[in-house]
């Protein structure tokens, strides 16, 4: 797991994801997502439901079963697609050590 390394070649897939976070993806984007969502993390980003279908807080769930879920301060979502985009940006930064910068076409 985790062999694939993100690089500038993946910026096209970042664009593709931000345009449509859920559903059909190109094989290149799917590979980026597999890397981001795969097993080799010390923690997982999770969406802690505050109001069902309406409000979520961002949490970090440690690997060890039964660990307390750390809440990320002041991050609240009211839309699941926005939550996906935000988590994607956070992981991009975690994996490349740089914020996701899509230049002028970075709409969000």
């Amino acid at each position: 797991m985790g062999r694939y390394q993100l690089s500038a070649n993946d910026l096209q897939f970042a664009r593709e994801f931000l345009a449509s976070p859920i559903g059909y993806h190109s094989p290149g984007l799917q590979r980026v997502l597999n890397r981001m969502r795969g097993a080799d993390w010390a923690f997982k980003y999770v969406l802690v439901v505050e109001r069902r279908h309406a409000r979520w807080r961002l949490g970090r769930m440690p690997l060890k079963r039964g660990s307390a879920i750390e809440m990320v301060e002041d991050v609240v979502y009211t839309d699941l697609l926005e939550a996906e985009r935000d988590i994607f940006r956070r992981r991009w930064k975690d994996l490349t050590a740089r914020p996701l910068d899509l230049g002028s076409d970075d709409a969000a």
Binding site: P21, I22, G23, Y24, H25, P27, Q30, L33, N34, R37, G38, A39, W41, K44, Y45, V46, L47, V48, V49, R52, H53, W56, G59, M61, L63, R65, G66, S67, A68, I69, L80, A83, E84, I87
Partner: protein, 757 residues
């Protein structure tokens, strides 16, 4: 989180019978209980809306909410019956294979207050007796058998701890370490023996062992370690040894809770919290793979500090379910401290009266085996790949947060224990926090994201919407009563994901359709896994995931046969009851992101299927909408396949024609992995909407998709998926026999056909 959780003593009850309610406070001070009929549990604002109905029944006023805990961990308890004294000289012994070593001290065998052998936090074997504590310098190895013994001889006044590691390499003698200290004899005040635990200060078993233990024994003499090894390897000689006080052969009465002593004293014991029995022992080297043929090789029990059978909470109150109340799905609702938002729902099925039919001709088969399989499941929390399968981040609802904080509640058969061995058992004698309305899930697809029970309420809500009278019967009822129970009905409807079945259940359903019954399989990945109930332990279910199937673990080499029944575990497809034979379709793929419409095939115009589409304008696509992933075909999907038993005359009316690349093949079909087996590439990844008649005048309608019901509930149950389902239900409820195509009728010779696909 959940300020109060609870469970009932049964998941199915008949009118006039009693239910007991066990509630535990996790913050609540008081609660009030009432009875609700559950009609539709999904709270998605895009859906038909949550709906239940208050039942006028006084369940008492405000009650105090008592804190109650979870006490997982399995062991054996042997009452001493006065036979644990006169042990001036003694040897306490066991063969053990640890599967988890961590910072905890663990007990292998204990005579509380007298002697104990265990493994310390560093992996050294230790022993305590006669006021002394000894420990080896060597460490035990995970997954290796070790013979452990603690012996005291008054003659030389020495207490000796010996261990030998039993290498699996052929013929090698185990390496021995022995430590000896001077000690003075003292009387044994022990009144019991515990195996894999000792008695904790709170009076409960504690310091549980994770791993296998085989043939523990107690002698009233100091036995040299080599002699001991030879004796333990031969139960016949061992049982005749003059100084033997007790020796437990776990291969006897494997299917029960009883532990048999082979000594003449008959110091029998019982298991606690359902550890795994029928497990390969010290002497198993692959000689046989079926414990029924060589039980002597299956003399180990695999204990886990995380095993849970019966939470054994004290009863808060009991009540009688009123005689006049109609069959249906109900819940005892517990409202803590006046906060309805925080209510806990103890869901149960009110089945029809036992002795007489209710008069209803339609029944919903409430899939309690599948609910049990998923009970308190932690897929999104424990399995990192879940997020990839969902195609989006995991959502944690309140009950998930409760599970994360309370792993002691016990697992589902989707989890592994802390030693990474599979969880074989799931029990209903504990709160099942995901068996509630309103809860969100992991696998329900983008949209409502409901699973199992809450997803099934889309079907209950639709039945209510169309004014259909129906009974609710459960898997447990079907297992116990078989075809006699099904024989009351014209039509049986399944839930969205009836994945787990006992042999009795499959045989009854097959017998039902063969004899003219009508089955509406409104789900996906149905009739997939073999499960067994225990005749000795009500409320617990066993599942061993052998050889194939999409599965979170394997049961371990040589351990594919169920302990409860001796049945071969795994897929029904490998056990002579393929789902395709019963319902025309069988599991082909899964993905938990989005779902698709079905595209009608030419078979949809076959006159045999005319009743299904009656009154509908035939568009090319059906179900391009829904609460589960936005389509009627998806999540888990089944295909028709003659090679797997789909009847040759079955009509595949419609199929999904693409899925995302999250949908991949099942291991049982992916014999040679190549990268083209994915949802955008492989035609085999599809849901087949299937219909066929049976020679006995019955019929089967299968959606082959979990998401179907999420489309039924779309637009207030007013849509073509709901209408198709209603058309089928109407015709299926009409007792007029279905005719086989080509004049094949009951009593006539059946034409033999080739089974080319």
């Amino acid at each position: 989180m959940l300020p109060i959780v609870a469970y009932l003593d049964k998941l199915t009850v008949a009118p006039g019978e009693r239910l007991a309610v066990m509630a535990g406070s996790f913050g609540a001070h008081t609660y009030r209980a009432d009875l609700r009929r559950i009609i539709q549990g999904d709270t998605n604002p895009q859906g038909p809306g949550y709906k239940d109905e208050a039942i006028a029944l006084d369940l008492g006023g405000e009650r105090p909410a008592e804190a109650k805990g979870f006490y997982p961990g399995s062991c054996v308890v042997v009452p001493g019956r006065g036979m644990l004294s006169n042990l001036d000289d003694f040897t306490l012994a066991a063969v053990a294979s640890p599967t988890l070593l961590d910072e905890r001290e663990r007990t292998v065998i204990a005579m509380p207050g007298f002697a104990r052998i265990g493994i310390d936090a560093e992996g050294h074997v230790f022993a305590e007796a006669l006021g002394r504590r000894l420990a080896t310098t060597g460490r035990v190895t995970r997954n290796m058998w070790h013979v452990l013994s603690l012996a005291y001889s008054g003659g030389d006044g020495r207490l000796t701890l010996s261990i030998s590691a039993e290498s699996d390499a052929a013929g090698e003698d185990g390496q021995l370490e022995a430590i000896s200290v001077p000690a003075t004899a003292a009387p044994s005040g022990a009144t019991e023996i515990l195996i894999a635990a000792t008695r904790g200060p709170n009076g409960r078993p504690g310091t549980f062992f994770d791993g296998k233990i085989d043939r523990p024994a107690l002698f009233s003499a100091a036995v040299a370690h080599d002699t001991l090894r030879r004796l333990l390897a031969d139960f016949e000689r061992l049982s005749r040894t003059r100084n033997l006080r007790a020796a437990w052969d776990f291969s006897r009465k494997i299917s029960t809770q009883t532990i048999c002593d082979v000594s003449p004293f008959q110091l029998h014991g019982r298991i606690h919290n359902a550890p795994a029995r029928a497990m390969t022992g010290w002497l198993w080297k692959g000689q046989d793979l079926d414990w029924k043929k060589r039980p002597d090789l299956y003399s180990a029990i695999h204990f886990h500090s995380t095993d849970m059978y019966d939470a054994a909470w004290t009863v808060d109150f009991t009540f009688t379910v009123p005689e006049g109340l109609g069959s249906g799905v109900y819940a005892v609702r517990l409202v803590p401290d006046g906060d309805e938002e925080a209510a806990y729902y103890c869901v149960f099925a009110l089945r029809p009266p036992r002795e007489q039919a209710s008069g209803n001709t339609v029944a919903f088969l409430f899939p309690t085996c599948s609910y049990l399989a998923y009970a308190n499941h932690r897929l999104g929390m424990d399995v990192p790949g879940t997020e990839i399968g969902m195609g989006r981040a995991v959502e944690l609802d309140r009950h998930h947060m409760f599970l994360q904080a309370n792993p002691g509640i016990g697992f589902s058969v989707y989890e592994t224990h802390d030693d990474e061995s599979g969880v074989f058992h799931s029990s209903r004698l504990r709160p099942i926090v995901d068996l509630q309305p309103k809860v969100r899930s992991f696998l329900g697809g983008f949209g409502s994201n409901v699973w199992q029970f809450n997803a099934d309420t889309h079907i209950l809500g639709w039945l209510d919407h169309i004014g259909q009278h129906y009974d609710v019967i459960t898997d447990e009822d079907l297992h116990a009563e078989g075809l006699q129970l099904l024989g009351r009905y014209n039509v049986i409807l399944t839930g969205t994901h009836p994945e787990y079945h006992t042999g009795n259940m499959i045989a009854a359903l097959q017998g039902f359709t063969d004899r003219g019954g009508r089955l509406m399989y409104l789900g996906g990945n149905g009739f997939y896994w073999v499960v067994s109930f225990s005749e000795d332990m009500p409320g617990i279910m066993e599942c061993r995931r052998s050889e194939a199937g999409i599965r979170p673990w394997e049961p371990g080499h040589g351990q594919f046969y169920h302990a409860f029944t001796g049945e071969y575990g795994g897929l029904w497809r490998r056990n002579g009851r393929p789902p395709n034979h019963l319902c025309g379709v069988g599991m082909t793929s899964q993905g938990f992101d989005i779902c698709e419409p079905y595209v009608l095939s030419p078979a949809a115009r076959d006159p045999r299927a005319a009743f299904i589409f009656e009154g509908l304008s035939k568009t090319a696509k059906i179900g391009d909408f829904g609460l589960a992933g936005g389509g009627a075909a998806g999540l888990e999907v089944d295909r028709a396949d003659a090679a797997q038993g789909t009847p040759a005359h079955a009509l595949v009316l419609a199929s999904s024609t693409r899925h995302t690349d999250i949908y991949l093949m099942t291991p049982e079909d992916l014999l040679d992995p190549t990268p083209d087996w994915s949802g955008t590439q492989a035609d085999i990844i599809r849901a087949d909407l299937t219909f066929f008649e049976t020679a006995g005048g019955g019929a089967v309608f299968s959606t082959g998709s979990i998401a179907w019901a999420g489309s039924m509930a779309w637009n207030g149950y007013e849509n073509e998926i709901a209408y198709i389902t209603a058309n089928v239900l109407r015709r299926f409820d009409n007792p007029d026999r279905f005719r086989m195509p080509g004049g094949r009728e009951d009593g006539q010779p059946v034409e033999t056909r080739s089974t080319e696909s």
